[in-house]
Amino acid sequence: MTKTAQSTLAEKVRQATDVDVAECYQCGKCTAGCPMTRYMDLTPSQVMRLVQVGDEAAVRRLLGCRTIWSCAGCLTCTQRCPKDLDPAAVMDVLREMANREGTVPHDLKRVLKFHKAFLKNVEYAGRMSEVPLTSLYKMTSGDFFSDVMLAPAMFLRGKLPLVPRVIPGRKEVRRIFKACRHREDEP
């Protein structure tokens, strides 16, 4: 089958996910089922369309949008796509690019900070623990006061272990992080 020439962005997406965005015919089913659209500036189907277009303006719009940071990864779009495309995986690729380019909308940086705090914790210890994760998140996001009242109640229920979980193979995990890190990337 002859395919229309793809944008550079569409080609990047295809390489990372095997999704050929040219196949998207804009039925809107992904958008209709998405539980997070009220927090988004572009709908999932608009994201797919802009990846198809892929010119400079489209790339700028996509990498600076709120949508990719508001995607909960619930997979409703992916499950329902009649063309078996995977909009959730497309969001992953765009999010990774936006992180690298530093184009995250200011008020959504806390979502990025949470992901980074989570990974920092896992890179160091091999596992996530609630206390290091929340402390690191609060320090980096400046969101100091939310949920502080939950901590004592969690502690009483045995749900806030104070000793962080650390695995014997943590050095190996750190090496894996290093091997996966793009040269220009952090954390």
């Binding site: 499950q79 999010r95 229920r157 045995g158």
Partner: protein, 288 residues
């Protein structure tokens, strides 16, 4: 005695503690031997696939490789997110020798692809078949429950097998065997906001409120889940939801393994039912 590998995942040692307690207790009563993978690491959860697609595969890969090395052919991952990440990785590796070679390079570990990942629902159904059904001596007296699959116990092509992604039924036989009455409701596969609990709390409050409201409308006396993220959003956050002026809700959120454990006559404390934010001991009182 059946030996099944066990990947508790990080949450089960903290916020999802009841899930770990009830899984272990249930395995014991059913005569299954759970063998925890030694030195397992975090699956990467939403954070890894949000920021680094290699890491999102490499982290589960290391755990799969460890399980294989330790002679485990089946591994239970009770957390829905861990299940989805581990099994999703196993499926992708089986399809792409290139990806498998790349991951072997990154992790410096071989993995032949011999490990099968089980969800909490598959695990419970398996135990029922292997003798647990005959041990359910304390049924729950027609307790009305809304089975909640959320995202990752319903969706993910080739990850969740043998069920309908829009109207799943995999929990129903187990719940019926435990003496529960399953109520029909609309939010069985809707998202609770998942990992946004801290970073987008408003969204979690809205989505979880809608789930609680629909379950109440359907007459449910409890929501049954298999996911520690859903559990913390619906249980621990229920007071946040009420404080936001939504609700008010007062609905116990229980794990499938807790319900089965109660029906098997286990002490509620041993299953962790006393550790919930919304009182769940009233569910235990229904047990005959």
């Amino acid at each position: 005695m059946t030996t099944i590998g066990y990947y508790p995942g990080c949450s089960l040692h903290g916020t999802g503690r009841e899930l770990d307690m009830s899984i272990r207790a249930l395995a014991e009563v059913a005569g299954a031997d759970l063998k925890e993978i030694e030195d397992w690491n975090c699956c990467g959860a939403s954070a890894a696939h949000s920021l680094n697609h290699d890491l999102a595969v490499a982290l589960p890969y290391r755990t799969l490789a460890l399980a294989e090395e330790q002679g485990l052919t089946e591994v239970l991952a009770p957390c829905a997110a861990c299940f989805s990440r581990l099994k999703g990785t196993a499926v992708r590796l089986s399809r792409s020798p290139d990806l498998a070679a790349k991951m072997q390079g990154i992790t410096e570990r071989p993995y032949k692809g011999t490990v099968r990942i089980l969800s909490i629902i598959e695990f419970v159904n398996r135990l029922l078949k292997e003798g647990l059904a005959g041990k359910l001596t304390a049924p729950l007296g027609g307790l009305k429950v809304a089975p909640y699959y959320g995202c990752l116990l319903a969706r993910g092509k080739d990850i969740v097998e043998g069920d309908d992604a829009e109207q799943p039924t995999a929990m129903e036989a187990a719940l019926a065997a435990a003496g529960c009455a399953v109520v029909p409701w609309n939010f069985a596969v809707e998202c609770c906001g998942g990992g946004f609990s801290m970073s987008m709390t408003d969204a979690v409050v809205d989505l979880s409120h809608a789930i609680l409201a629909d379950a109440e409308e359907a007459g449910a006396q409890a929501i049954v889940t298999g996911c520690p993220m859903c559990h913390s959003n619906l249980d621990m956050r229920q007071q946040t939801i009420n404080a936001a002026g939504l609700g008010p809700h007062d609905l116990p959120i229980v794990y499938l393994s807790e319900i089965m454990g109660l029906a098997a006559g286990l002490e509620p404390e041993r299953l962790g039912l006393n550790r919930h934010f919304v009182d769940a001991m009233r569910v235990a009182e229904r047990s005959a």
